[in-house]
Symmetry: C2
């Protein structure tokens, strides 16, 4: 059987009986040629997500800052946009956000109106996304706010250092410092880490580092569409190019961010691209992506790797969704509600009380 | 927040600061335009799957038989191809296959060399795929053979009636007849149903029918890339058109198969397109697809629906894989091994001993 898989055998035999086959030749090209086409807005997603898909691309995917100053100005613009939204979000979600410092690192503690009985001694650590460059300070707390409110749990959001001033490994060192300090007083079995995009990648690298350093591992993790591979490797970088209306391509802004963050380090270093790490012994993990997500392969490759290593690993793939849109939608939107509900249920199942 | 989702707010604000944005205009088109491009063969899948991707399309996706005779001739050709492969597969897998009749329906019982202690009283029912038209008789038993051998368990494969002579609901009636007869003597908690493509769709319809008829439900089910929606609805019918090198498009052979099977019945009838059914109370379900699968949306829409209904539902998405290639690869290939291992572990976890 080794030399005659079904597919090739069928192709060979059927290509000799062409009377009914409109396409008689068995193509043996090594690339697939995709003709130009248009994608309709799917009617199988919520009206809110339909609107987001119909809105086209964010005008940022092809940004190429030429200097440190340009990078910083660009980061400031995004920061201002985020800060503008946050007061209304905090009010709506009914949370308080308080800055403090843990192990020399700035954090923001998000406390919801009520904390459920099960969650009284539990804690979530949050690692924000933004390509390891965007959302400094409080501007990176929106997903933490929504999660704290939805799950009725305390969240500590880590404001790790970022490029252009502080490339790898400064940010990873920061999140590790906070983690080490927190597990001194919090039972790691009652602690989960979550984050999206670069935040999802960073938290996978955190667990790899914690394993390396012989630290206790968290009780559960949630990596939303994690940036697990900073190279050009992964099928959906090609199949979902231009299909994803958030990231659009792996060869625009994302290349700039990857190079700025890695700062000359090998992009395949497992602490930079955690899909290349040894994932044996990982805690229960829930991963989220979408069918249009440029990072779909980043997500499913980690999922396969975790399950092959014997870990508990759940996968959520949202219909029609591009990169991380579950956290860009209004928190009332069905896909947003479902994302936070999935994480809440997963943490409640796998964390100690 | 309802009226100002992040995404739109960001787009609006950022489009006013265009100095760094190469693409300054916030597009508001309702379709996405995808330029012509080529997809390389991914190096993130096994060499066996790489070969299958590089081999191009099967010469069948654009077949349009014009008469009952043409359909029957075409079915016979595929049947002959399959029958040619089966002796070697049975030999390699070490199984015996015995025909018999249950409740007036032809079945094939697959017995592996050894049956594990846990599986001694368990039984798997198998519903083959092939668009509800292909693989009559013993020719539809290959996946059953691989599963029986891999999981060391007894499998009964159902040879349900098919078009052109027997369109819907003949086939569904047949699988229901077998199911009803089997649960008279087999504890349904020790019984799982599995199948791929049309088989995956059919078994979801079986559970909907069993619910409707007040029958006991199976202990677990495994729907591989199920044909859960026979209409043109579902985002991956568009995003993975021409990307999937097995099915290629929803508007070629698949349209012919859907119309032949439904035979004038509404394609949105939940017993034909089970994604439209009420899935509350479904047993634990494992679903499998691939990032290139034309049926990726068929798979994740069912997964979301099951989890929203409160069922246990696991999702597997293979990197770079088109429709159902896990069962077309040599059984030695990693993705094939992983597929059958996932099903074995899931059934072992959820079935009673």
């Amino acid at each position: 059987m080794k030399s005659t898989p079904w597919f090739l055998l069928l192709a060979t035999l059927l290509s000799t009986s062409v009377s009914l086959a409109a396409e008689a030749t068995h193509k043996t090209d090594t690339e697939r040629h995709i003709p130009a086409h248009t994608l309709p807005v799917p009617n199988t997603v919520s009206p809110q997500l339909q609107a987001m898909i119909a809105a086209g691309t964010l005008p940022v995917w092809n940004v190429h800052p030429q200097s440190v100053t340009e990078w910083k100005n660009w980061v400031k613009k995004w920061e201002a946009v985020s800060m503008k939204v946050l007061p209304e979000l905090r009010e709506k979600m009914g949370v308080t956000v308080t800055p403090s410092v843990i192990a020399g690192v700035q954090v923001f503690t998000v406390i919801p109106k009520t904390i459920t009985e099960n969650n009284r001694d539990r804690l979530l650590l949050y690692v924000h996304g933004g390509g390891y460059v965007l959302f400094p300070g409080e501007s990176g707390t929106s997903e933490a706010i929504m999660m704290a409110s939805h799950d009725h749990i305390k969240v500590v959001a880590i404001d790790y250092r970022m490029p252009p001033d502080f490339p790898y490994p400064a940010g990873l060192n920061d999140v590790m410092s906070v983690y080490k300090e927190i597990v001194k007083t919090t039972d790691p079995k009652k602690l989960a880490i979550f984050g999206t995009s670069a935040g999802g990648g960073m938290l996978l690298s955190m667990v790899l580092r914690a394993k390396d350093e012989g630290l206790p591992l968290p009780g559960a993790i949630a990596a939303g569409t994690p940036w697990s591979d900073l190279t050009n490797t992964g099928d959906s970088y090609y199949t979902n190019e231009n299909v994803d209306n958030v990231l659009v391509t792996n060869n625009g802004l994302i290349r700039e961010l990857a190079n700025l963050y890695a700062h000359g380090h090998d992009l395949k270093d497992p602490f930079i691209s955690p899909v290349y790490g040894d994932m044996h012994g990982f805690p229960p993990t829930i991963l989220t992506s979408g069918t249009r997500d440029l990072f779909l392969s980043n997500t499913v490759r980690v999922h396969r790797k975790l399950r092959e290593a014997g870990s508990i690993a759940d996968l959520i793939v949202f219909e029609g969704m591009s990169h991380a849109q579950y956290m860009m939608l209004s928190p009332d939107a069905p896909e947003s509600q479902q994302y936070f509900s999935e994480l809440s249920a997963f943490f409640d199942k796998h964390l100690a009380k």
